[in-house]
Symmetry: C2
Subunit: 421 residues, 2 copies
């Protein structure tokens, strides 16, 4: 019995210690990995130029509603014309109402050609002279007035600031937030165009130079902390880079490892993270990088349903903001890791895998029904494996082979083997 235990322990220790070394020995010289990455970059640059540019170019039978970035002066004049038409309607004795695009899920559609969720063109009327809608109509008018003020002053505020300008009317922030989204749809412009910004969570480090509100930022010289991603994308400009790819990281622990080891010096890349759930500022920043620099985006997320969900929010948008999916999404993100098949392939020890909860499994099964997963057979296979094995693992699980296994073995080998989906 004691012997058996000893033998089992010896076997498991060879599993967890000699095998990682085995992977390290598979690594080719960096120059060869760099060739792979250069090829990926040129492929990505040419494929991104051949993509259909917009919804309208697809000639789909349904009509859609999309918003775009508008200069402040247009936002201002659109609000003024709208106010004028309301005044005319009131003077003519008809009272007034807003025509508000529906943002309900029945009005949403995943367009595979674009690989993102878009909003169909159903609208509803929001009359002032109706008990059911008088509050919403009043709030809509007030938000329009506040946005008009912002456009005159050209300053940025948060949703929270907006809420506080009239707490008695808005009652709670979810009401002013939701009508702010309505106002975006009514005016046909992005929320950034309204100068209402999200709180910033993301950080970026690596081979990127850009200007933030006029200041030039060199992200190779931002130490380990990195540069906080600016909340207002309209003041970000002049992006330059000699990177071969963008590494999108789900969590800040992995980000820190990569930043401290200056991974971007060994494999020229830009490393970006929103520290969990993607926020609007980071999504806008990622999209801008991808568009301007024509770089492939590789994602490093946890091997659980939420990792894939986060990838999908960057890739094809959240349902909540589908009216603005054109500006918020970054197409063609590759799933680099940690993928369910990696758990066995890289021999992640049993104790670092976690059993999936009932909710996890349900989320995984729900994802299998989503169009953006279905269109990628590789993703379906991985997700099926996850749901079947009922095991999940975080990026940090790789730390069981040593704290620097991520940067020294796992990622280089993944890149060398073009092991992305």
């Amino acid at each position: 019995m004691a012997d058996k235990k000893k033998r089992r322990r010896a076997a498991s220790s060879s599993d967890s210690e000699s095998d990682p070394l085995h992977f390290k020995s598979k690594l080719k010289p960096d120059s060869s990995i760099l060739q792979t990455l250069t090829a990926l970059k040129s492929a990505s640059a040419s494929s991104s130029s051949s993509r259909p540019a917009s919804l309208s170019s697809l000639n789909l039978p349904t009509a859609f509603r999309e918003v775009s970035d508008l200069p402040l002066s247009s936002v201002q004049s659109t609000i003024e014309s709208l106010a004028l038409s309301l005044a005319h309607s009131i003077l003519a004795g008809h009272g007034f109402s807003f025509s508000v695009p529906s943002r309900a899920s029945a009005n949403q559609l995943y367009v595979p050609e674009l690989d993102r969720i878009v909003l169909k063109d159903k609208s509803s009327s929001r009359p002032f002279a109706s008990v059911a809608s008088v509050r919403k109509t009043t709030i809509t008018a007030r938000i329009l007035q506040l946005i008009h003020q912002l456009s005159l002053k050209n300053i940025h505020v948060t949703k929270r600031d907006l809420f506080y300008t009239d707490v008695k009317l808005f009652q709670d922030q979810s009401q002013s937030d939701s009508i702010l989204d309505d106002v975006s749809c009514i005016l046909g412009c992005t929320r950034s165009s309204l100068n209402v910004v999200a709180s910033e969570k993301g950080v970026v480090v690596g081979r990127l130079i850009f200007s933030d509100n006029g200041d030039m930022i060199d992200c190779t010289k931002m130490g380990m902390g990195g540069k906080a991603i600016p909340p207002n994308i309209d003041r970000v400009a002049d992006m330059q880079s000699d990177a071969l790819f963008i590494l999108l990281v789900e969590k800040d622990a992995a980000y820190m490892r990569l930043a401290e080891d200056r991974f971007y010096n060994r494999f020229p890349c830009i490393i970006v993270t929103a520290k969990g759930q993607p926020d609007v500022a980071t999504r806008l920043f990622l999209r801008k990088m991808k568009n301007e620099l024509k770089l492939p985006v590789l994602a490093l997320v946890d091997s659980d349903p939420y990792g894939l969900k986060i990838l999908s929010v960057y890739g094809c948008g959240s349902k909540n903001m589908s009216y603005d999916s054109a500006n918020l999404t970054t197409p063609d993100i590759k799933w680099l890791g940690v993928r369910p098949s990696d758990l066995d392939k890289y021999k992640i020890p049993e104790q670092c895998r976690l059993p999936m909860t009932e909710t996890d499994i349900k989320t995984g099964k729900d994802l299998l029904e989503e169009d953006f997963v279905k269109k990628n057979p590789g993703w379906v296979e991985e997700l099926n494996l996850m749901v079947k094995s009922k095991q999940k693992a975080e990026i940090q699980a790789l730390s069981s082979f040593g704290f620097q296994y991520l940067t020294e073995v796992y990622l280089p080998l993944k890149l060398q083997q073009k092991d992305w989906l």
Copy 2:
């Protein structure tokens, strides 16, 4: 009735619109406010040098336990000696046990002379040969081994990384986290000395230059996003500044307003926020700024019990990490605003004040019993007013007078009138 309503509305609109202008007219030229700030800075620099430097210099009757920053080589040799003594104990047939300082609240004390919470010197034994403590003893030994690895490699990891190196043993992260704090106490060094870093949340902008991992960072050239505060304070060095004060801000909405308006150019200052609850990295960074630059710290927090609580964590430490209060706390932070008395003084409209919940009121009353509040009569008065009026307000409530009221009227007037406690 209709007339009465109209009159009331007119009165309330004059309350909320003419009065803020009234405050603006009270503002003196900036040069006069700058004189006030220069005086504050010199007073702060001289007072900080006259403070008692340490617990030992106080000659208190009780014995205390404090940790200090140790170089990696000391951490390494301390662990090695400890391991050697355990081995001796085992070979002598005594088994082994750790002597672990107690971090329970009964072992904590607020020292008014130092204005922070410290840990008394009670310890308990953690023997391996006891069913009650065998798990904790094993985890302690494993954490010591992992820290030793980190010190050999000189790399930084997060608590999460640490947890993942042995999930089967640690079971959940709260267990490895808690024993990591024990290990700090056992070795007598700060958690940063162990090379285990907290995830970074804070940002800094304004008149500060420092080096992060060897890169020189100029925080006046960080746009609106600011510089992310590095997770590892030991790689922060060479702080330089021509600021007159540090403005510590609770929330990022206010931070963004200040950064966009480049408040630090009008009144030379360094603006820092942890975006809510203070994290270890921001607390270490604030303390380092205060110590090296000898600048006064003014705090801008919400007018609610949590605002004051956050101020107190920066000021005298959290109970959880009292063993490290010497390194984590910044003494003598002034409460600039938003204070309960400001609500009436600045005529914050009723609709922007929020009723305090039962929990809020209880938290407020509990704070009144805390030593760090009691020693400041001004704070007691403000807190009494808050609990009595049962009203709270966020910094953002000032937006009701215009989005830039905070930077253009409220803060300049506060500074001019030396209105801090």
